[in-house]
């Protein structure tokens, strides 16, 4: 049967001689031995406590962002999201260019890393090639996760920027009519940062998607083959929809990582406070803005930077909501499979 303990506990009371009784709800009355009930209650209480602690901690963080951001919120209000000028010296704060930069880099990174990651996860969970090769590739992808973000930045500077400088010209020549590819090619650009971000989130998507795919019961596969589906038809119509919640979770985590990445992006994106829709021009992201200016910020600037952090949290919220909606739609479509 499908995984997921949506109904907690056994659906019936079992009582063996001298054995414990399993209450459906902890704390429900029963003639079970007190010793056992307390034991269950204790673990239940512990996990409940942990959950409360987790929520409290995470909410505390959100509050600790909002409070310092308040002066900036009062001063700039919604204009913060729409103004395009960020001038710390004159206390003018408009984060629109950075919102665009964050959205562009994360979207492109995910557009590259999601299909790539899912394909690799499939490769690792299906047996196209012998186990040894699969283990190697898995090791290799996990090695990508072990690289510190500073090193990604340094590699980007040493290897990726020259490549983008060389071949970016092709993009702007052929596709220059699209605003995304216009203008002179800079090595330090939104494109470079997006490519590195894709590499950085790839291990996350691969590892978690792989777990999700491996957790799909063999019976589902067998059933699909039994009705004559080919391997890939099984994958697309049965496995992926079943593993979809896990893959969506992986995507949300990957998006979060991409939007919150500070170091590597700050080193590669050119940090331009001027709005540009072209991928080949320098840009800026909210997280990069924070990384760059926080150390030296004073007064209202700190408040504005915290407002930017809040904007990131709100952006994550929007992404999450979209992800959940996509998942709900996918599950509706494949309802019969379960």
């Amino acid at each position: 049967m499908e995984g997921g303990p949506a109904t907690a506990g056994p659906p019936f009371k079992v009582r063996k001689q001298g054995q414990q009784q399993m209450p459906e709800q902890p704390g429900s009355t029963g003639h079970s031995m007190r010793r056992v009930r307390r034991k269950l209650d204790l673990f239940h209480v512990i996990t409940w406590l942990m959950s409360v602690a987790a929520v409290v901690t995470l909410l505390w963080i959100v509050v600790s962002i909002i409070i310092p951001a308040w002066p900036a919120i009062q001063k700039t209000g919604f204009g913060f999201f729409m103004n395009t000028a960020w001038d710390a010296n004159r206390d003018r704060y408009g984060a629109f260019p950075f919102l665009v930069g964050t959205a562009l880099t994360s979207l492109i990174a995910l557009c590259i890393a999601l299909p790539l990651g899912v394909f690799i996860a499939l490769f690792l969970s299906e047996n196209f090639l012998p186990l040894a090769i699969r283990q190697t590739i898995r090791f290799v992808v996990e090695l990508l996760a072990a690289i510190p973000s500073v090193v990604y930045g340094l590699w980007g500077i040493a290897v990726l920027i020259p490549i983008v400088q060389r071949f970016g010209g092709l993009l702007s020549d052929r596709l220059g009519f699209i605003p995304l590819f216009q203008g002179p090619v800079f090595g330090n650009s939104t494109l470079t940062a997006s490519l590195v971000l894709a590499l950085m989130v790839l291990p996350t998507i691969t590892a978690i998607s792989r777990s999700a795919l491996v957790a799909v019961p063999g019976t589902l596969r067998e059933g699909s083959y039994a009705v004559g589906a080919t391997r890939w038809e099984t994958i697309f119509r049965v496995l992926l929809p079943t593993a979809a919640p896990g893959i969506v979770a992986a995507t949300i985590l990957a998006f979060g990582r991409a939007m919150g990445e500070t170091m590597a992006v700050a080193m590669l994106i050119g940090n331009s406070p001027r709005l540009s829709w072209s991928l080949l021009s320098p840009g800026g992201t909210l997280a990069g803005l924070l990384a760059n200016q926080f150390g030296e910020a004073k007064g209202l600037q700190i408040s504005a930077l915290m407002y930017a952090a809040l904007a990131l949290v709100l952006l994550t919220l929007v992404v999450n909501m979209i992800g959940e909606a996509v998942l709900r739609h996918a599950q509706k479509v494949t309802a019969g499979v379960r």
Binding site: A88, F186, G187, A266, M267, N271, G288
Partner: protein, 336 residues
């Protein structure tokens, strides 16, 4: 499990670490620019004073001032000294000591061009975004015989707040009223054009990789990365290259107000002075609660002012002129 293993190895390493029972520990934080200098001082000073442990972490002048005000560190460091408001916020009182100095150079990437001379009009125009190409007459005028390409100038600036930016923009604001109006001075300004890199190393990398780029970096970075940098026209009309000597000339023109050692040589008129050079300050409490700590800080800074200056040239800084060292030592005496 993993965790107990990690904790166990950590505990072993802890035990294996030197037992440092009764020594003095000093913590400092602040500007990135002088960090190598201070760390060298620490290494040399603690060689002869092994009972003192000093740590200095570069977090930025702003964060350094904050931590110093919050009393989290024994001494702070700032490229922009401290404003009167900031000084007023420190309960124990502040003593500003100019500790070392450096110059800001304009490094450029023009293959084949080794000796670029930029007039005041030229370099302020470049950073204002008005002078857009290398073949612009403002540049060509002062470089007769040099083949300047017709490429666009890529201005490389700092994306992070920095004392280097502060010094450079202060200078530009002094020589160009238009710059003062459009951009202004500060540790973090919005440049009208170009790309920005994080840290001096970021700007260095930008300049290195983009033909036609020009950016402002600390002298040490240009030297170590073998970047070509321009000779700049100073107020007296001479084109001066940044060297230890020309920087020292600039520093010597600084006039400090009587009660506080805070001043910037913004536009020296002396003949051989390189126009963009500045001090960086150490921030000390006027009154230390912990007497031993205060004494240790005093001795350390004294070392830095006297013996520490000899590392300046090696590391890319300018040694402080004698008069300023004297003033600093005097200010040190006021610390309790």
């Amino acid at each position: 499990m993993k965790i107990s293993l990690l904790l166990g190895s950590a505990a072993t390493l802890l035990a294996a670490g030197t037992a440092f029972a009764a020594g003095i520990q000093l913590q400092g934080a602040g500007a990135t620019f002088p960090a190598p200098m201070y760390q060298r001082w620490i290494a040399e000073y603690t060689k002869s004073n092994p009972n003192v442990q000093i740590n200095y972490q570069a977090v930025g002048s702003g964060a350094g001032i904050k931590q110093f005000t919050q009393n989290l560190v024994a001494f702070g460091a700032s490229d922009a000294a401290m404003t009167d408001n900031e000084i007023a916020a420190v309960k124990q009182g502040v003593v500003l000591i100019p500790a070392t100095a450096g110059s800001v150079v304009l490094a450029y990437n023009l293959p084949g061009v080794t000796d670029l001379k930029l007039s005041r009009e030229a370099y302020s125009g470049i950073f204002l975004g008005k002078t857009k190409k290398w073949s612009d007459p403002a540049i060509a005028k002062t470089n007769p015989g040099v083949k300047l390409p017709d490429t666009a100038i890529t201005v490389c600036s700092r994306s992070d707040g920095s004392g280097t930016t502060f010094v450079f923009t202060k200078h530009l604001s002094t020589i160009s009223p238009e710059f003062k109006d459009k951009v202004g001075e500060g540790t973090s300004v919005t440049w009208p054009t170009g790309v920005a890199g994080k840290g001096n190393d970021g700007v260095t990398a930008l300049v290195k990789q983009s033909p036609g780029a020009i950016g402002y970096v600390e002298y040490g970075y240009a030297k170590n990365n073998k970047l070509a940098f321009a000779s700049l026209e100073n107020k007296s009309g001479q084109f001066v290259t940044a060297t230890t000597a020309s920087g020292a000339e600039t520093l010597a023109t600084t006039k400090f107000p009587p009660d506080i050692l805070r001043a910037w040589p913004s536009d020296p008129e002396v003949k051989d002075a390189y126009p963009i050079a500045t001090f960086t300050w150490l921030l000390l409490d006027k009154k230390y609660e912990n007497k031993d700590q205060g004494e240790a800080v005093r001795k350390f800074v004294e070392f830095g002012l006297n013996d520490g200056q000899k590392f300046a040239e090696e590391l890319g800084y300018i040694p402080l002129p004698k008069e300023i060292v004297e003033k600093g030592l005097e200010a040190l005496k006021t610390i309790q």
